[in-house]
Amino acid sequence: MAVFNLNVNGTKQKVDVDGATPMLWVLRDQLKLTGTKYGCGIAQCGACTIHLNGVATRSCILPVSSIGSKAITTIEGLSELGEHPVQKAWIEHNVAQCGYCQNGQIMAAAALLKNNSKPSEEQIETAMKGNICRCGTYVRIKEAIKSVSRT
């Protein structure tokens, strides 16, 4: 066990855990930030996507010891009440079914649009293909992303 000082959603957080613990479980178990989801644990589904210094990152394979002072943003930190343009687009397009994948989808989309405000269809697919939606909401996800890029 070791103490780590983390910067999560703009707040300093201190956790005392095994350094190998993936950030996913630190968020969910220690910090009770449960918006970040467990899906596969092997960086293949995107349910656990967070931003590490603004870059979309799979938290399920990210040891807490590797984070240092980098800023972590989770879905809870994207905006409190859903005012982020990506969240607004998700609401407007009534994207979700079970909703379980959508936190990860939104985090991936927000990171994509931050780097490229007008992604092509192909760029959207490349950026988003790491995020699985078992319910099959891909068409709506893509439409929602396109609607943000148009504004």
Binding site: T34, C40, T74, L81, I91, N94, A96, G99
Partner: protein, 743 residues
Amino acid sequence: MSVINTKYGRRSFIKSSFLAGGGLMLGFNSLASLITEGRALETIPDEWFNINAYLKISSDGVFTIKAPHPEFGTDVRTSLPMMVAEELDVDWKKVVVEQADYKPSIYGRQYTGGSRGVMEKWVPLRTTGAAARQMLIKAAAKTWDVPEAEITTEGGVLYHKASGKSAKYEEMAARAAEIPVPEKVALKDPKDFKIIGTSRANVDLIKMVTGKAPYSSDINREGMLYAMVVIPPAFGMKLKSFDALSVKSMPGIKDVFSFKTYEDGYKRNMFDTNAFPELVAIVGNSTWEVLNAKNKLKVEWQPFTEQSFVMAGFRGEQTVVVPPGLESSSDHKAKMKDAADKPGRQMRKDGNPEEVFKNAAKVIERTYSAPFLPHYMMEPITSFAHYTDEGLFVAGPVQSPETTINTISSRIGLPPEKIHIELTRMGGGFGRHFHAHCLTEAAVISQKVKAPIKLQYTREDTTNMGSYRPACLAVYRAALDKDNNLIAFHVKAGGVPDNGLNANAFPAGAVDNYLAESFSIASNITSGWFRAPGDNFIGGVEQSFLDEIAEAAGKDPIEFRLELLKRSKEKPVGARADYDASRYAGVLELVREKSNWAANKKRGVAAYLCHRAYAAHVIDVVVKDNVSRVQSVFSAVDCGIVVNPDSATNMVEGNVVDAIGHAMYGELTFTKGKPDSSNLGKYRLIRMNEAPKNIEVHFVKNDIAPTGLGEGPYPSVFGALANALYKATGKRFYHQPFIKNSF
């Protein structure tokens, strides 16, 4: 307008009196965080009036409507309350939806599956809303001393035009709560609907996009411990021994023990499907620490030689004998092929098919197959339990709380009244959560360690402890006469263990000589209901086969189907046909028009009836760099009245994408009882770059009572895709997954 006896409503009202206190408290506790359509409840109203178990009206005009069914993604938390709000005649913006407790004595059957929610609650929920509105009218009539018949309502306001009096519902709510339930109420004519038939956003959207929609895996409680189970590595194996000391001293580990999910001699209910009823539990302070211990635990397994138990089923109790052995997919294939070569169990016979096949001008025979599929819900199985002297609180993914509560009750020795099952949102289900053994397991673990616990399956455990879509095989034969008329049709289908062939489905009734046979093969690999059970295979392959018959007969595939449907409608063959030929034809005609069918020759079509919804799809496939991808899908669906069109459209799109994904890539094979791919990486699910670029959904407009959409549009997608792939590549696709197309 139809007048309806309030049988359902009265049942709620009678019970609501004893619910009142608890219901009120629940309202206060959970309302502060509720948001609907962007509207936050900033102030908690002073007073709430329980009009009935489904409805609470606050003194400041917030209407809380209970959603009776557990939600796993079909949006019944929006569509069902819409039915209450419609007849109540309130402004949807003022409605807040709350999950109902599990109380079947009040809410009727509360389960999710079989696409039945909307259908079963269609009359009861509207009756409830109408009865409440009637009570408010009575209260106003009494207060104003005017005849009830002169009172009208609109958007939550009562009006008496002649005197110019008006009152908001909330002003009359206290008085209305005192009024006895009307014996009969009038339900609206569909043409007067203001909420039903209009698109309303998913009531949980804001919570879902801000990470606040709680799934059972998100539950955190003071003093909660984390648990995982260690399951046998293969079907056909059971626990031999384990060495608790090998991990007990690892950091954060509290307890390691084995347990049985069922007591010896327990009679299983029909959803107690479970290949591994004895597990090892590891309990500790965090998921990570428990996972580390799970990976280190020394445990020995052994093959079982004999296993049998009594289980209830649709046809009463039976003794289930589980065959021993470590099965491989190659064995399954050989056995299915063998069974298909022998006469099967006859399910239906019309005319004299054997004779007609002998003398036919043309005979076509084709074999189709599909592998086992895991449900692969996005949320790995997770459940929460807290056992105390007062009772048990459990939450977990559960499609059938009514059977699950009995399993738990019998195992932990608490009467069902002392068990509270929380109906939390599920991260998908697709049929898997009928078999909610994880709730019993969590309850047993909590009882043992005397603490609230969260039981987390890994993704691998979730896949390996599946109740899969069975592996299936079907052989079809068709006979044509010299004028290319379909004169005989024969299907023989089965699976490991079976595939639920409906012998009275189309094209039964449309062909003079018809034979349907089935076979089944016993296995110790557990299988269960998977989105559109049985149909998800048969529907697709039957539609591929019809495509080949149409081609052999030189007919347009839509025209060919319409001819058969016409025949079945005008001169049905046999005693029974489980479909309405006009509605079947209706979706084909609609999809033909909307897709502009004739405009493109390289496309596939299919239509199927499943779970009371008729669906037809036209699919366009484009091949680029040797990779086939669906470009566009046009879907026409007849599910009766569409309660929430945008949500229904989303559901059809989901069916389309899910079916394309499973048809193309879905495959779970076994080697010596062990699943060959337990996680992504090896197991393939459809991704955005493989999904259709456009999906256009159209609904048939009619006033027929609605049915659900979770499954109906699913099977025909498999067929339309196979037919489209043929047009795009020149190759027929007989074996799923289509990326392999081999048996």
